[in-house]
């Protein structure tokens, strides 16, 4: 049941850890002033991130060895927990930055939406792999799982956490697209999503959000309003040049750039380490994402493949939304940069996801290393766990 670690994927093992460690250095650099201003020790945020990293690392190791196929069996429980958490946070949650997105246990803040991300990826991967047989059929194959997706999205939008909702929506699109549904159906879904958004947005629109949108596209027209964060971000990035001002030398982190250690950490990296630092970080992130997709491509098991795609998409989409925001391509929605930004729930989920991805990779490698005699074995597993019903239905 517990897989051996000898087939571990080196890239997927080392890259997230490198990114997280680098993230902690930058979090310390970006947050020490903020921490002191807020009345803590300068290492306040660093230590908390380190603690979360240790927890995340445990999750990572556990998920490396825990066979991913069991998630399919635990699906009902996972979904139930996710929905309970999301409903619970709406009822009992803590409001930070105008969004009721957090459970606070003393100093520890948990963000259920982060868990919902992974939960939904598992769910979609599971259902669509089971429905592979009639994936081309809209009403039978495509539609039913979407009911739960919409419910989860709605719960997150209610917090409101538009950023996470958008990420989940895009991850879902990515997984559904990869599952092989007809383009016609995909377009229908996207159109439906857009209509839903069009209905939802007028109710969701607040001045703050409008100003964030206008701020993204005309930051210098409204420097004191919505454009403030983006201008500060531009100033940080522009100040870095090719090689940056040097580690710890950022000026923008000294109160100009809000959330320097969370959503805008890449701006500080750009300022202190320059474009080269940015390239390295983006390179590492791209490595994880592309490696994840590569594994999905290799994985013969459709659940594993869709799970890998979902996880890779999650990292990629979050990185895109975060970097898009700090470089003024997208509106600022408060999405952290994967692995690098300060944030416990996010890091924990990412590390767990990396563990799962590693586990899928190990499975893929095992397939390759033990070609002939093990195929029946793996087929048996497939047959009994996921492929079973599919097979039965097919043979009928």
């Amino acid at each position: 049941m517990i897989q051996k670690l000898k087939d571990y994927d080196f890239t997927l093992m080392i890259t997230p850890i490198l990114l997280s460690l680098f993230g902690m250095v930058m979090i310390y650099s970006a947050s020490m002033v903020i921490a002191v201003v807020e009345g803590h020790e300068s290492t306040y945020y660093l230590i908390r991130q380190m603690q979360w990293f240790v927890i995340g690392l445990s999750g990572f190791i556990f998920c490396c060895i825990f066979p991913y196929k069991y998630y399919q069996k635990l699906m009902k429980i996972i979904i139930l927990v996710v929905i309970l958490l999301l409903v619970g946070v709406l009822l009992f949650g803590n409001t930070i930055n105008n969004a009721k997105s957090w459970f606070s246990f003393g100093p520890v803040n948990l963000q259920p939406a982060e868990f919902a991300k992974l939960g939904l990826i598992m769910y979609l991967a599971s259902v669509y792999s089971k429905k592979q047989a009639y994936i081309k059929d809209f009403s039978k194959g495509v539609l039913p799982p979407l009911v739960l997706t919409v419910i989860i999205l709605a719960l997150i939008v209610l917090q409101p956490d538009i950023g996470t909702a958008a990420i989940i929506f895009l991850i879902a699109c990515s997984v559904i697209f990869s599952s092989g549904i007809k383009f016609k159906h995909l377009f229908t879904l996207v159109a439906a999503g857009v209509v839903l958004l069009a209905v939802a947005i007028p109710n969701m629109v607040t001045d703050v959000r409008i100003s964030r949108f206008t701020g993204a596209y005309q930051p210098f027209q409204a420097p004191d309003d919505g454009g403030y964060h983006l201008i500060q971000s531009y100033l940080a990035i522009g100040g870095g040049g090719l090689t940056g001002t040097g580690l710890g030398q950022s000026v923008q982190k000294l109160g100009y750039l809000m959330e320097a250690h969370t959503d805008f950490i890449m701006a500080i990296i750009a300022e202190e380490l320059g474009f080269l630092g940015v390239i390295v970080v983006i390179g590492l992130l791209a490595t994880i994402v592309l490696r994840g997709i590569f594994i999905a491509r290799k994985c013969d098991d459709s659940f594993g493949a869709l799970l890998a795609i979902g996880i890779a998409s999650m990292v990629g989409i979050q990185a895109f939304i975060n970097l898009g925001a700090i470089s003024g391509v997208l509106p600022i929605t408060g999405v952290p940069l994967p692995f690098v930004s300060y944030g416990g729930s996010s890091l924990l989920i990412l590390m767990i996801s990396m563990g799962i991805l590693n586990n899928i990779a190990m499975n893929v490698k095992k397939q390759e290393n033990e070609p002939a005699n093990n195929i029946p074995n793996s087929k048996t597993i497939n047959y009994s766990q996921s492929g079973g019903r599919t097979w039965q239905k097919q043979t009928r």
Binding site: A133, G238, A286, A296, R297, A312
Partner: protein
Amino acid sequence: MKRVSAVTMKKRIVTVFLFGLIIFLVIVIRLGYVQFALGDELMGKANDLWTRDIVFEPERGLILDANNEVLAENVTAPSIIVTPRQITNPQETAEVLAEILDVSVDKVFENITKNTSSVMIRPEGIKISEEQELAVRTANLEGVYLAKDSKRHYPFDEDLSHVLGFAGIDNQGLMGLELFYDEKLKGEQGSLSFYSDAKGRRLDDLADIYSSPADGLNLKTTINTKVQSIMERELDLAVSRYDPDGALAIAVNPKTGGVLGMSTRPNFHPENYQDVEADVFDRNLPIWSTYEPGSTFKIITLAAALEENAIDLMEDEYHDDGDIEVGGSHLHCWKSGGHGHQNYLEVVQNSCNPGFVNLGQMLGTEKLFTYIENFGFGRKTGIDLQGEGNGILFKQENVGPVELATTSFGQGVSVTPIQQVMAVAAAVNGGYLYEPYIADEWIDPVTEEVVDKKKPNLKQRVISSSTSEEIRFALESVVAEGTGRPAYVDGYRVGGKTGTAQKVGKDGRYMENNYIVSFIGFAPADDPEIVVYVAVDNPKNTVQFGGVVAAPIVGTIIGDSLRTMGVEPRDDGPDKEYQWPEEPKVEVPELIGLTKDELTEYMLNLSVETEGKGEYIIDQAPAAGTKVEQGAEVRIYLSENDR
């Protein structure tokens, strides 16, 4: 079916892979663009954001007179700067400061609780007095600082106030020279920029940038403080003696156009300009006011006639029977019955109106008006002060015989005092019309080098030097023998011309018994060093006649000024009509039957006391023909009805 689906899935996954690759590329390109393409522009903005400037105010340039006497300087007067963040008990601090500065507690409280790094309490907390400074120091309040600051000080108090103007609370020029030359006087602010965080705290590991303030240049003017003081003194005397509506005096160097002195009544103290009405400091009368010049304008007519060789002063004669018919209407001479038979020198000496009408007619409209315009009337002289008037001339196409005639003796045109001064200066200096100016040199306050020196601006040659010489001769004889005798200065050859101008009231008609009396004089007549013009608006308790009121003032100003300027006394000039010390007695003229208006140009050096009210003189004492001492009192009795 499953296989097909799996193949589709692999294809889709490759698509996602490519899509992901593109996304990362787009982001890298965008970040590179922000970092490099926007970089420089952004750095400028970021620098502005990061740096905090401590401003170092430059020292405002001094204003000096021609002999380096200080006319405007700076004296220390600290300002209060409050750092709200450092104040622990705003209410208490506000109360203490309000007490010291004599402002409401609310105002101070509101200021010192503002959410900024530093505030000032405007305007009470700026440039505070010594007592207030001491009180603030004694109170020793947390977060309250005294910043070195200075305010403008004018050592000569009210003297030259309209010309100097004044500077405001931020040392910005608001009026006069202070305004006109504010750019050069104010200098450049310096600053100490240090990097700081968003809360304004200083970042020590980034180097400070210091740019030193550049002090304003010192302005050396053409003003001669001694001449100015004499003018101020004489105007003060005139004000106390005549209680006029206003008065003004100008002294100009005719050889350059440089202004030696300029004064206005009512005046004000530049350091307390708020104490007077804006009309008082707004109106620098010598350049602002426009009015009919009266007889002083005859100099222009005379200059035109002489330059055009229309007459010979000595040879040609004119018979004045007290009346001249122009275009069907009769213009009277100010002396009823006329001056009789005179040569043109006597016409000038007597300021005979019909004689000048005759000159104007000889010249014709076109020529006379060309001369008037050439002498600078109808347009600004270009003096380096704000608020100069244009004056008003008849439009040539509207000039009929009557307009030509009245213009010839200074009625129906409207001019500014400075225009008259510059025109007369041109008439007597050999024919050179200069632009008047006050700012002479700009001096670097540190090296004391002259950075910029004004060259006299010759606008135009208006008459020949021989014509100019004739005018000097004619005007000298006006002072020696004619209407200008009270301006005579022993030892200096003074030339000049009286003027008595009626004022136009609000209804557009001439006002009754309300004249601007003036005299324009110059000396020495052989080589003029100074042209002085004095006008007194509606003097009371006197005959409103330029020869009586203004001429002696000009005489005193010229005499005293030339002595302080070190101009050699002359002894080759024409003598006054009598010989010193045997002062001849004056024969009291027949005044009964004259109107009061006629009297204004008649009385020479007798002082007049009036009794009763009205236009007509019905009696006089002493009687006509009585010989009296010069300056003796003649009492006249007035009535509404003629005899």
